[in-house]
């Protein structure tokens, strides 16, 4: 699971008001090389919750992102885009869990696939 997906997922358990961002528990991380595409990054930048990406990247062991949410002027910087690219697309959570920030319920991640299915009493 790439952090792009982590930034799109939230806990939708019945009654949960703020299910985002899911906290990450790491058992295994892989880095996979992905072709760089600046146009995609510039488009996605505005949709990404910076703090969620920053914390997720830190949890996966990548500390190169700026702490403060950058404004869109950084999109002209190749150095920034490379780091953003790496955090968003190249860090892969292979094994671990995503934890609902409100209930602590764990959504397991197995072979890179998060299981977002709810139990009957959570729907």
């Amino acid at each position: 699971m790439r952090l792009l997906i982590h930034n799109m997922l939230s806990s939708n358990i019945k009654g949960v008001i703020n299910g985002f961002p899911l906290r990450i528990e790491v058992d295994k991380v892989e880095e996979k090389q992905v072709d760089f595409d600046a146009a995609f990054l510039r488009k996605m930048f505005h949709k990404i919750e910076w703090k969620a990406l920053l914390d997720a990247a830190l949890t996966l062991g990548y500390a190169e992102l700026p702490e403060e949410a950058p404004d869109s002027s950084v999109l002209e910087s190749d150095e920034f885009l490379q780091k953003f690219h790496h955090a968003l697309l190249e860090l892969d959570l292979e094994e671990g869990a995503l934890v609902c920030p409100e209930t602590g319920r764990k959504f397991p991640v197995t072979k890179g696939i998060p299981n977002m299915l709810l139990h009957e009493d959570e729907v």
Binding site: M8, L9, S11, N12, D35, D37, M44, L118
Partner: protein, 256 residues
């Protein structure tokens, strides 16, 4: 890998995962016939709901290219075996999609709303007794309840929510799903519709319909939804005559 669609001999399998069949081929043929438009459209995020063997999402990724062309793929399925098989099928073709075990798009609906440019769906469309819907195992890949609409009717509002303002939806139906009624419902949400592929097999009359946002739909201050542009709904006339034609038309396609 130069081929434009997935190779059947490279599609992985599992006893509890639906294998590519006439419906899957019809959906991929529809995407292939619309490939030029898709390339012009230049989608960023493409998604398949219910990816099964991975045949369709792999074919789409081969058709449109991967990260070098700036297209990213996401596929969901409720069945963990399907996701494993899809993962193997993608890998065998050297393409990538992010996989999520979900009920339609559970967990994604909030944050991914309005972000997906293309959604493809081969839903469980077979009319069955209601209690067969959503059972574990392979039956969930086809069991559609009354008129085959149980799952279809849950997917359509999710697709509406996830699709970007210019988003396209490709969905497979049987004539017995009453697709003309579905097109009317989608029209109310601001979508136009066109039949891309029509195919009669020995057992089924299949249709692939493409929906796209045509009229900008705006919510006014009272929360009432109004359609600002009212163009004649092009597909409806042809749908009616098509359905009557289909009932007389048999191809010599063999069933699976």
């Amino acid at each position: 890998m130069s081929s434009k669609i997935a190779r059947i001999d490279l599609v992985s399998s599992h006893p509890e995962v639906y294998e590519p069949c006439d419906d899957s081929f019809a959906l991929v043929d529809a995407l292939l016939s619309d490939r030029t438009n898709l390339l012009d459209f230049h989608p960023r995020l493409c998604m398949e709901v219910g990816c099964g063997s991975g045949y369709v999402i792999t074919s789409l990724a081969l058709m449109l290219g991967q990260e070098t062309t700036g297209v990213h793929y996401i596929a969901t399925d409720i069945n963990p075996h399907a996701l494993q098989v899809t993962s193997e099928t993608l890998k065998a073709h050297g393409v990538h999609a992010e996989l999520i075990q979900a009920d339609i798009a559970s967990g994604l609906e909030k944050r991914m709303a309005g972000l997906v440019d293309v959604i493809v769906v081969n839903p469980p469309y077979v009319p069955t007794p209601e209690d067969e819907v959503g059972q574990e195992g392979i039956a969930s890949t086809w069991a559609g309840g009354e008129n085959g609409r149980r799952v279809i009717d849950r997917i359509l509002p999710v697709a509406d929510r996830l699709l970007s303002h210019k988003g396209w939806l490709y969905m497979l139906f049987l004539t017995s799903n009453n697709p003309s009624e579905i097109c009317l419902q989608m029209k109310d949400k601001g979508f136009s519709a066109r039949i891309i592929v029509q195919r009669a097999t020995e057992e089924e009359n299949l249709l692939v319909i493409k929906f796209w946002r045509d009229s900008p739909v705006q919510a006014d201050t009272n929360g009432m939804v109004t359609t600002t542009k009212t163009e004649p709904f092009m597909a409806m006339g042809s749908l009616g005559s098509l359905f009557s034609r289909l009932s007389f038309w048999r191809s010599d396609n063999s069933s699976c």
